[in-house]
């Protein structure tokens, strides 16, 4: 009978089924999508991680490492790569070689000549080693155990290999120094067969002391995470596994576990944790919207069965049976919706995963997903029961007589919802209570739902009131169409649910569009600022001259060196920088970048004092030193390849000695050094009198260096007041005060101090790290901006030449970059390739934007916009259906009017007006709710896993997409209103009057 009933109401049943699928989809899609997104995040983290961050290398000199890790298994772990190695000098002690075997090594090397070792004492050598097939190699730690006299075991070269040093088999270690061209003392691995370990010299588990001093085989096992198998659910397992391995490394001094899994896990958490809260909130709101739709649609279904339910009561069925009878159809549809909804979720998430996340994701339906679907169904059942309550409990006579019931209690619900919204909004705008663990207010995502419902509740009451006022006017003026429309809306029967559903659905959709458009713009802006240029090429660290030359050779580029802060420092060629950097004048009061960067280069700077050679001598005149007092004259040099100054004592100034000579730093023999300063340190012996301290100055008159045995004068401008600082009075040379509190140090005035800089953020009083990240200098802001290209933290932009003059070298923390002008990335890449400039990494703004999108908040917003779009369409559909149903009930009344002589046109106008007003009112309320929610919540909705410090994020709405959505919704509403009105009018027949009213 139930199936027959469903078939009789097949269209309504189908709509209920579709609507019932919504909360199931919403409920199950969230967890499934979250799983897929978490898997994406963890796999992307691992993809970007270097080899030793993706696994563990267990080594033991006393046990078999393979055995140690045998028990450590997980579905996402690749089988351990076993191996062993012995580090030993060769027989002549000229080089140290790792003799090693690794499982599967032959598959990971390219055999250039010969073959892979198969038997004991056979080895394979790298091409760079210089050995050839047939050679023998002897290692001092490998001796023949059977021989009476210690005799080194010869290892026979049977093959020559080449390999990729980045192959996971080598665990990211610097194993191939010879291949890399660094030959000092270390050779490339000698790959052997495992049998060698058992036949020669020492072996694993041997003498403990040997083991500890490294004179034993070290057994190794490398465990890698399989990036294709690990999923978002495996984070806890991964942590537990890591803890076990860490514990293994602590068990004894002979076992060590290498790896950086702590950092990997931290990165995973940082990204994954920012996903859970937003996606849960989005899911909850969508499920709630689904329940609301279900509530309203089931109410229609149950209302359509009111007659049958009344019959059941008339026949004396018990309350329980009446409930069962009343809910049987919607309950059946809900149960049918569970598998359909889960299957639909699976299909949607699979599609989303393939197009938006990764193509290697396998979307699975796990127990939790099914549980969420079941919970959504139960919520739907509750909504169904609430919807059916009035019909099921209404006395039969009331149902027949259509006695209106008091609706006073509806105000209570409205008041509660409004109060919750007000409190939530107040906390959102003013408080810090609703904050999540990461400090970002992901709870702000609940705002659109709350606001949409609250505004809808107000709007549904306002519309009938307004129409009631107009009703009086249309009663006396105009034609019957407006009057009928006003009267119907003012009754409020279909208006309330339509306005609520439309406002809630569209509010969410408008918010989602606003959130997405604002977030996308922020992603773009942040990417522009953080990357600095459209394309950035990271090149090997060399020196400023080389970097500038690379840039000079490639048009449309700028040389940049970034030193992380705080404050971060970006050193560049100001003119080239201004021409390639992505700049918004609004960041600096509408000033162009080139106008500001022009101030970075100092007007005058003394030339550098360059020296080269093995000795230096200084001609000085020194006043007579008091008894007990002495002084030492130091010279500071910047030496190529160093980051610290090289200091040499030139001599002890004495009135009797005119010339002091000392060896130059070693680095100055091969490359030119820069004299960075002269210092005089005056010391007082015990018993000397302070009052009798030295006076006057040591005057440096001439500096000479010796190169290739010949002395030449250094162009130091010792008597030139413009070339040294602080200012001095030349006395035939450069004076250095001997007085206790005098200026005993001078430097060539090659750079201004403080440095002129463009600054962003609070940096006053801070010192710049400098290119060497060691010798800080002050800076003077010539212009400030809210954000500066290339800086992801408050920092400064300085002139590259000036920064280079300040520094003593280049810190390993600095990054040398070549920036490409917009649209010239490919050209620059090609030019760099042609110029044989290695490119270590390429970063584009698009790459950064893609990275932001795949962070937790970005993925959550993606879920929000897809789901909200679908929900909005369903809401519109449901609203049109409600209006259609309500109007259809009135076809009897329309037929009566037609029979009484009313023309069709006013009836058409009445229907059209009624539907247009209601739909537009609901749509406008939704748009308003979405905009208010966007205004209130957007600044608090997390957009990034870690909120960027600079540039300031812009939360002003992007009008075009919001307007497009609003216009599309209104246009759809109008079309829906026109179509339903016409359909209804065509259904009005005077013959209907022969039948009882429905």
């Amino acid at each position: 009978m139930m199936l027959r009933g469903l078939w009789r109401r097949r269209w309504l049943s189908l709509i209920v089924l579709i609507i019932a699928v919504v909360p199931v989809v919403a409920g199950s899609l969230g967890p499934m999508y979250t799983d897929a997104a978490r898997t994406t995040l963890i796999r992307e983290t691992l993809d970007k991680a270097i080899l030793d961050h993706r696994g563990w290398r267990v080594t033991s000199v006393s046990d078999d490492a393979g055995e140690l890790v045998k028990e450590i298994t997980a579905p996402f772990l690749l089988p351990p790569i076993r191996g062993a190695e012995l580090l030993s000098p060769n027989d002549k002690a000229t080089k140290t070689y790792p003799l090693m075997w690794v499982e599967g090594q032959c598959d990971h090397v390219t055999t250039v000549v010969g073959r892979c070792p198969r038997a004991a004492n056979e080895i394979m050598v790298s091409r760079a080693s210089g050995f050839t097939v047939g050679d023998t190699v002897k290692l001092s730690l490998l001796s023949d155990p059977g021989a009476e006299k210690r005799r080194l075991t010869p290892l026979r070269v049977v093959g020559v290999y080449e390999t990729d040093a980045a192959d996971p088999l080598w665990y990211g270690r610097s194993l191939f120094p010879q291949t890399a061209g660094v030959t000092e003392g270390n050779g490339d691995p000698l790959l052997t067969a495992p049998e060698t370990q058992g036949t020669v010299g020492v072996k694993t588990g041997g003498d403990r002391i040997d083991a500890l001093v490294g004179a034993a085989w070290t057994s190794t096992a490398i465990l890698y995470i399989d990036r294709n198998k690990i999923t978002g659910d495996d984070v806890a397992s991964l942590e537990s596994l890591h803890a076990r391995l860490r514990a293994l490394g602590r068990t004894g001094e002979t076992t060590t576990v290498f790896g950086y899994m702590d950092e990997t896990l931290e990165a995973v958490h940082r990204r994954v944790d920012s996903l859970s809260v937003p996606t849960t909130l989005v899911t909850v709101q969508l499920v709630a919207l689904g329940w609301l739709l279900l509530f309203l649609t089931v109410r229609d279904l149950v209302a359509a069965r009111a007659q049958e339910i009344a019959l059941a009561r008339l026949r004396g069925l018990s309350t329980l049976r009446i409930w069962a009878f009343g809910l049987s159809e919607p309950a059946f549809l809900l149960l049918a919706a569970l598998p359909i909804g889960i299957a639909a979720s699976w299909a949607v998430v699979s599609r989303m995963a393939a197009t938006l996340l990764r193509d290697d994701l396998v979307v699975t339906v796990d127990g939790f997903t099914v549980l969420c679907g079941v919970a959504a169904v139960f919520g739907g059942l509750l909504a169904t029961a609430l919807a059916a309550r009035q019909t099921v409990t209404q006395p039969v006579v009331e149902q027949w007589r259509r006695t209106p019931r008091s609706r006073r209690r509806a105000w209570v619900v409205d008041a509660v919802v409004l109060a919750i919204t007000a409190v939530g909004l107040a906390e959102l705008l003013a408080g810090d209570v609703i904050t999540d663990a990461t400090g970002q207010r992901a709870s702000a995502l609940i705002a659109p739902g709350l606001l949409a419902v609250a505004l809808a509740l107000i709007a549904r009451r306002l519309l009938p009131l307004a129409c009631r006022a107009l009703f009086r006017l249309t009663r006396t003026h105009g034609d019957i169409g407006a009057f009928l429309a006003m009267r119907q809306i003012s009754r409020g029967s279909a208006t309330a649910s339509t306005v609520i559903v439309l406002a809630a659905g569209l509010g969410l959709a408008v918010f989602a569009v606003a959130a997405w458009s604002v977030t996308s713009r922020n992603y773009q802006e942040v990417a522009r600022v953080h990357n600095g240029a459209e394309t950035v090429f990271v090149v090997p660290r060399s020196d400023v001259a080389t970097l500038r030359k690379i840039s000079a050779d490639v048009p449309g580029t700028a040389p940049v060196i970034v030193t992380p802060g705080p404050p971060a420092m970006l050193a560049t060629d100001p003119a080239r920088f201004a021409s390639v950097a992505l700049w918004r004048p609004s960041y600096a009061g509408n000033r162009p970048l080139n106008g500001m960067t022009a101030k970075l280069t100092p007007r005058t700077a003394a030339p550098r004092v360059l020296v080269g050679g093995d000795r230096i001598r200084a001609e000085v005149s020194t006043p007579k030193m008091p008894d007990g007092w002495s002084a030492i004259l130091y010279a500071d040099f910047r030496v190529t390849g160093e980051t610290k100054p090289a200091i040499i004592p030139l001599g002890r100034p004495d009135s009797r000695i005119k010339v002091h000579e000392w060896g130059l730093p070693r680095g100055c023999r091969e490359a030119v050094c820069e004299l960075r300063g002269l210092r005089l340190e005056v010391t007082m012996a015990a018993g000397a009198s302070l009052e009798d301290g030295p006076t006057g100055s040591v005057v440096v008159k001439k500096l000479e260096v010796r190169q290739d045995g010949r002395w030449s004068t250094v162009d130091a401008g010792l008597a030139d007041t413009n070339r040294w600082t602080p200012a001095f009075v030349p006395r035939g040379g450069l004076p250095l005060s001997l007085e206790s509190f005098g200026t005993g140090a001078v430097r060539p005035d090659t750079f201004p101090d403080p440095l002129p800089a463009l600054s962003s953020g609070p940096g006053a009083g801070q010192k710049l790290p400098g290119l060497d990240d060691g010798h800080f200098s002050g800076f003077e802001s010539v212009a400030s901006a809210q954000a500066l290209p290339g800086l992801n933290a408050p920092g400064v932009v300085v002139d590259l030449e000036t920064a280079d003059r300040v520094a003593y070298g280049y810190s390993p923390r600095t990054e040398f970059q070549i920036w490409a002008a917009p649209g010239r990335g490919d050209e620059v890449r090609e030019a760099l390739r042609r110029g044989s400039v290695p490119v270590l990494a390429t970063r584009t703004t698009d790459d950064l934007v893609s990275g932001y999108v795949t962070q937790g908040p970005g993925l959550a917003l993606l879920l929000l916009i897809v789901s909200a779009g679908v929900a909005a369409l369903l809401a519109l559909g449901r609203a049109v259906l409600a209006l259609h149903t309500a109007a259809r009930r009135r076809t009897y009344e329309m037929a009566a009017l037609e029979a009484a002589g009313a023309r069709v046109r006013p009836l058409r106008v009445a229907l059209l007006l009624e539907q247009t007003i209601t739909l537009s009112w609901g749509a406008l309320t939704g748009v308003l709710a979405g905009l208010v929610a966007a205004w209130a919540a957007l600044p608090r909705v997390p957009e990034f896993a870690e909120t960027p410090v600079t540039p300031p994020l812009d939360y002003s709405l992007v009008p075009v997409p919001v307007l497009l959505v609003a216009c599309a919704v209104l246009a759809l509403s109008m079309i829906a209103a026109a179509v339903t009105s016409e359909l209804l009018l065509r259904g009005v027949r005077v013959d209907q009057l022969r039948e009882a009213p429905a």
């Binding site: 009978m1 007659q307 019959l311 008339l314 004396g316 309350t319 006579v397 006695t403 009882a996």
Partner: protein, 268 residues
């Protein structure tokens, strides 16, 4: 004889949001077991309300109402449901309203039997036989003709062997012949029956008529003769045909006679 129905000063007031409507006032009525009674009267007089009271769908606002010795004012909703399921069969106006249109004739009968024990149920086949619908037993009720639907409605009402059959305008939408079939069917049943009707054929077929006007019992007819009913406080409703002689609002003198009184118009 046993009383199937007894109303003692029954008053029914409908309360809506704004107004209260007195639908029935001071109804005193006794219906004996096996009696068939037709409620007559103009629309809005309160016939259907009285029928709903007898069906246990309403509880009187005042007064007492007994159905087969049970005072329904003292029953809770559940007991009322049980009473209705076991003792009362109802046929509503408009045959389609009595039926679940998509269910077959048999399913409609068995649906009505859900609330009673098996032994209290009549075999659905027998019932349909009796109302002449065995040939369409599996046809959805919505596809039956008006007459078939009305006969099926009667069969559904009788499904639980009710002691009291209540029918509201059972012939109102039927043609002459079909209406006659339904009347014959109700007559044949022999159970206590109360029928609300405007159809003189129905009233003629019943042993007693009760005319309700303005919420009061104004007259009763037995064996072809109509009587006015002296209500509580001596109130008597003059039949409309005498309103010409004594128009509403006119003054009359009451003159006693050995077996009653005479009303004479007082000249003002």
């Amino acid at each position: 004889m046993t009383q199937a129905v007894r109303c003692d000063g029954v008053v029914q007031i409908y309360k809506t949001k704004e107004i209260e409507v007195v639908a029935l006032r001071d109804i005193d009525l006794v219906i004996e077991e096996g009696e068939s009674v037709a409620f007559l009267g103009p629309s809005g007089a309160g016939k259907s309300t009285l029928l709903w009271l007898l069906a246990g769908l309403l509880r009187p606002s005042a007064g007492r109402l007994w159905l087969g010795g049970t005072e329904i004012g003292r029953l809770g909703p559940r007991a009322l449901d049980r009473l209705r399921a076991a003792q009362i069969g109802v046929v509503l106006q408009n045959p389609a309203r009595n039926l679940i249109p998509y269910a077959s004739a048999v399913q409609n009968v068995t649906f009505a039997q859900r609330a009673v024990r098996r032994r209290a149920r009549r075999a659905a086949g027998d019932l349909l036989d009796r109302v002449g619908l065995n040939g369409v037993r599996d046809k959805p009720a919505g596809r039956l003709s008006g007459g078939e639907q009305q006969r099926l409605a009667v069969a559904v009402a009788l499904a639980n062997r009710p002691r009291l059959l209540l029918a509201d305008e059972p012939t109102s939408q039927l043609d002459m012949a079909t209406g006659q079939t339904v009347i014959e069917l109700i007559k044949e049943l022999g159970t206590t029956s109360v029928v609300v009707t405007h159809d003189p054929r129905v009233s003629e077929a019943t042993s007693r008529t009760v005319t309700i006007r303005d919420g009061r019992i104004g007259a009763e007819g037995r064996h072809g003769e109509d009587f006015v009913v002296v209500g509580r406080e001596g109130a008597v409703q003059l039949p409309p045909e005498y309103h010409e002689l004594l128009p509403p609002g006119s003054m009359a003198r009451v003159e006693p006679l050995p077996d009653g009184v005479v009303l004479r118009r007082a000249e003002s």
